[in-house]
């Protein structure tokens, strides 16, 4: 016996809990305490030369989707699938795809070191257990997968009809056999399921349950199992079953609830074997065959449908534990294939990788997210997409001022890969368009005019017509907008779905209410850190004529707060702690408040929704696929900005919107894939570009800003042009550089007012004044001072300077607020002036001017006229 101890099989120093060799002997899988499932090649183990050869890959893949240590990994008999069970209560089934690229969810950290040789992706995530999974076993014919768990139950999953499983809970005191005793679950030679467990420590014998209905039959194979514990398990001879056998065959499509297994008592010493029934009638031998499975299905693994084990199992196990499966309606076939060649499957949405609400992402430079030119190319290499998707996930969400952070995983889950979960994978598997669209996101219908049939025309009408032309495509792109990243694992108890629910998809959105940064947020206190999750489950039901979708929307905090069901397939969702909004793929919007009351329902928009964003207050931003956006005030049930167009883009078909958000004041901001951001101001009714190309040359444009928490800074940082050096050549001239800076500063001021960011405004104002002072630009200084000074009389029609839009700001707050507010929201113009004057005075030549203004100030403020004084209200 050779002892082979490959030292390079490791799980980052964690324990390795399980190992299984592939049936064809070429590879083996291990599951370890680092939450990973790793697939290794056997060649370096057994062949010495291969071990030394550095070209021979050792690690074929590392799957990091689990949230907890992986306790068990098992290959199916045909070697096509690998099942893994872990402490996160999930069993994941992995399949090999032929497409290249990495498997999903490689965390950022390890991504560089390991080359992925084989692409294993999660084809199913089986949820049902409420505690750690201890063991998994496949049936030899690949029809069933059994999993045992520390929640004292086992679940048998039906592979054919989709993975739905019926939990069977062993007697209350049963504990599960630890590995030392061999598999807790094993499937016998003839397909009969054997579950062995150790009941208590005080003996009591093991329990054996005959699971499936495949009979031993004739002189067929014996049940060989758990021979390790002969004392604990006694097997009795076949108790031939009888009439019960037949009843199972008659149950077809309607399995009543009573049939579903209720926790069964397993008597320790019974083994059930089934026999077919033979009779002789009329001199002819007749046999009644055993019904061993559900409706014929030759697909490997399809979508979940319930597998019901009749309650016969309850009684002494004399009854035939036949499986009477429901005849599920045909599973949607597209979900099967594991490769990229999926045609547009717009409907499947999974809850992640939505960068749309990642306002935080703006703060990181996203220059490396790929921008595929047209959204037409639906089939993307998985790698690119996954990489893109990866990027979205990586962005650790930081609450920028006001905007709600969508991607919840603020909790630094170790694997940035977060979510994982079936649905995410399902997304990747089925909806490559989703992934493709995540980073170069939302192929805005107009933006993409990917129907290059209409050559990149800037005409808006053609853009909208192209929208309708390629409607299906846009539909997919719209619909593919997935909810936000992290799948927050709720401990959902195994619910047995009775309806033939195929295609259930899942969106989960984490609505954090934790406002960390800006002190100006008056609503949420910093201790407010409860986690709200908006959880949407989409169920596809096949009716007679058509297929309908129903979505169940849940609001979860630590438990389900409320649950609502709507008709339609939800594409996007958003919300905060006051309300939430969901949009379905038929452009219908539903808004619910915190308690689940439907505030506004069945609002049909002009087109499908591609972005749905909310701030922490009451504003909702809707961007439809044809390039129109609206901002609504939910509290007032009013539309603030109605159906306005997006800004003009020069190269529309190359651009997509990467992010959209709405500020606390209700101003929409969009950030494009080329890094440019725009904010819409409804005073003028147009978009303002935040990132300034030339301005980046100015010496004031630096990342080390003190006001880095400001909104403006955040947005501008995102738009750093990569080829600054090119621009530098433009500005050699000192004078022009000066002018550039001045202009830049003025622009910054303007933007700061638009964005209502007073601290930034202040910063830029000071910078501006200092700059002007340093260059003795008296003219401009005078202008500024005049503005700040204001009129000497109490005149309401004061509308010359650019601060007016702030005065008339349609904010909730009282405009007469004084400066005593802790949050420092209000800036008084005259106070500013007063503060600025000393700065200006540093320049001797301006002293006279300074003196004049000081005098005027004193005069004016002695009037005690505050009403026009407020800059930000």
């Amino acid at each position: 016996m050779k002892i082979l101890k490959p030292t390079w099989v490791e799980h980052s120093g964690y324990s390795i809990f399980s190992i299984d060799i592939h049936p064809d002997g070429t590879r083996f899988a291990t599951g370890g305490g680092d939450n990973k499932v790793k697939i290794w090649s056997i060649a370096p183990v057994v062949v010495e030369e291969a071990e030394l050869d550095s070209n021979v890959p050792r690690l074929l893949n590392s799957m990091e989707s689990h949230y907890g240590p992986v306790n068990c990994v098992r290959w199916s008999r045909d070697g096509k699938y690998l099942a893994s069970g872990s402490d996160d209560n999930l069993v994941m089934v992995w399949g090999l795809t032929l497409s290249g690229g990495r498997s999903s969810f490689i965390s950022v950290g390890s991504s560089t070191s390991e080359k992925i040789v084989e692409n294993w992706i999660c084809v199913y995530t089986l949820r049902g257990h409420s505690a750690d999974i201890s063991e998994i076993a496949w049936s030899p014919d690949g029809k069933y997968l059994a999993s045992s768990s520390f929640d004292k139950s086992i679940i048998i999953w039906d592979c054919l009809n989709s993975f739905s499983g019926q939990p069977m809970s062993v007697s209350e005191k049963a504990k599960l056999i630890k590995r030392a005793y061999g598999d807790a679950v094993r499937v016998g030679n003839d397909g009969q399921l054997i579950v062995g467990m150790m009941i208590g420590t005080s003996g009591g014998g093991g329990g054996v349950a005959g699971g499936s209905g495949v009979g031993g039959g004739g002189g067929g194979a014996e049940l060989s199992m758990l021979a390790e514990n002969p004392d604990q398990l006694t097997m009795e001879d076949e108790t031939s079953t009888s009439s019960k056998n037949n009843t199972s065959t008659t149950t077809t499509s309607t399995t009543s609830a009573s049939d579903i297994g209720v926790p069964i008592q397993i008597h320790p010493t019974q083994v059930v074997k089934q026999r077919q029934k033979e009779t002789i009638i009329n001199g002819r031998r007749r046999i009644t065959p055993l019904n061993i499975g559900g409706p014929a299905s030759s697909q490997a693994i399809t979508k979940p449908s319930p597998l019901a084990i009749p309650s016969h199992l309850n009684h002494n196990l004399n009854g035939t534990p036949t499986i009477s499966p429901q005849s599920s309606t045909t599973a949607t076939t597209t979900d099967n294939d594991n490769n990229n060649n999926n045609s547009l499957e717009p409907m499947d949405i999974t809850g992640n990788n939505n960068s749309s609400s990642n306002s935080e992402s703006l703060s990181k430079s996203n220059t490396d997210s790929p921008t595929t030119p047209t959204a037409k190319t639906v089939h993307q290499p998985l790698s690119a997409m996954l990489k893109a998707a990866k990027q979205q996930q990586q962005q650790t969400p930081r609450d920028s001022s006001g905007s709600k952070s969508g991607s919840g995983s603020t909790q630094t889950t170790p694997t940035g890969s977060t979510s994982t979960g079936n649905s995410e994978v399902l997304a990747k598997r089925r909806n490559l368009e989703v992934q493709e669209s995540t980073s170069k996101k939302k192929t805005k219908s107009s933006a993409s005019s990917s129907s290059s049939s209409t050559s990149a025309s800037k005409d808006k009408t053609t853009a909208s017509s192209s929208a309708s032309d390629s409607s299906s495509k846009h539909q997919s792109s719209a619909n593919n907008q997935a909810g936000n990243a992290p799948m927050f694992f709720n401990d959902r108890l195994s619910s047995i779905q009775l309806q033939p629910a195929t295609g259930s998809n899942h969106i989960s959105k984490h609505l954090t209410t934790h406002d960390q940064t800006i002190p100006r947020s008056s609503s949420a206190s910093t201790s407010d850190n409860f986690n709200l999750i908006l959880d949407i489950n989409i169920v596809e039901q096949e009716l007679l004529e058509s297929t309908e979708y129903f979505s169940t929307i849940r609001y979860l905090k630590d438990s389900i707060l409320w649950e609502n069901k709507i008709n339609g397939k939800v594409c996007v969702a958003t919300g905060n702690r006051h309300w939430c909004a969901v949009a379905t793929h038929d452009a219908t919007l539903h808004i619910f408040n915190y308690n689940g009351v439907s505030i506004m329902s069945n609002i049909v928009l002009r087109n499908q929704v591609s972005f749905l964003e909310s701030n922490n207050q009451y504003h909702l931003l809707i961007i439809t696929c044809d390039g129109y956006f609206s901002v609504w005030d939910i509290k007032k049930r009013k539309c603030e900005i109605s159906n306005r167009e997006l800004p003009f883009f020069l190269n529309r078909d190359k651009l997509t919107i990467r992010n959209a958000l709405v500020t606390e004041e209700g101003k929409p901001i969009i950030s494009m894939s080329n890094g440019v951001s725009y904010v819409f101001t409804d005073t003028v009714g147009e978009w303002i570009k935040i990132t300034d190309r030339l301005g980046s040359l100015s010496e004031f444009n630096s990342n080390a800003d003190t006001t880095s928490i400001g909104m403006l800074a955040k947005l501008q940082q995102a738009g750093k042009p990569s080829s600054v050096t090119d621009l530098m050549t433009l500005s050699n001239d000192r004078a022009s550089q000066l002018q550039l800076s001045t202009t830049f500063l003025e622009k910054q001021l303007f933007l700061a007012t638009i964005l209502s960011s007073p601290s930034e405004y202040r910063h830029w104002l000071f910078t501006y004044v200092t700059h002007l002072t340093n260059h003795a630009n008296q003219l401009r200084l005078q202008e500024i001072c005049n503005d700040l000074l204001g009129p000497s009389c109490n005149n309401n029609s004061f509308s010359k300077n650019l601060f007016d839009n702030i005065d008339n700001n349609s904010n909730n707050n009282n405009s007469n607020k004084s400066n005593n507010n802790n949050d420092n929201q209000d800036l008084s113009k005259r106070e500013l002036l007063r503060e600025l004057l000393p700065t200006i005075a540093k320049n001797r030549t301006l002293q006279r001017m300074v003196g004049q203004y000081r005098e005027s100030l004193n005069q004016f403020t002695s009037n005690k006229d505050n009403s026009l004084d407020i800059l930000f209200s």
Partner: protein
Amino acid sequence: MSHIKLTQVLIHNNPANFDTPLIFDISFECISPIKEELEWKVVYVGSADSEKNDQLLDSILLDPVSVGTYQFVFEVDPPDSSRIPKDDLLGVTVVFLICAYKGRDFIRLGYYVSNSYCDQELIDVGLSINYH
């Protein structure tokens, strides 16, 4: 399309003595219900020359089945060696597993059967020995 699809047939005792029963473990699936019974037959081809040497080893009837996967074990008597021409006793021949519906065969599964002596010497000696 066919309502009944054969998914698996296992032969339990293989190889075996000539005079032991043949055991077929049959699994089939039904994708849409059938109304009449199914007849399963096992036919041993005695001689390739003519069909009159075919022996129907056994036949069985199955009640009409509904949608589902079914399995049963079919044990048939061994062929009668006296009805087989001597020349064809040893060597390769065929056994059929046939399923019929309403009297018409729709599944015909054939297996090659190789008959030979157990004893090595007898094999060496050849075919001239009379088989009793």
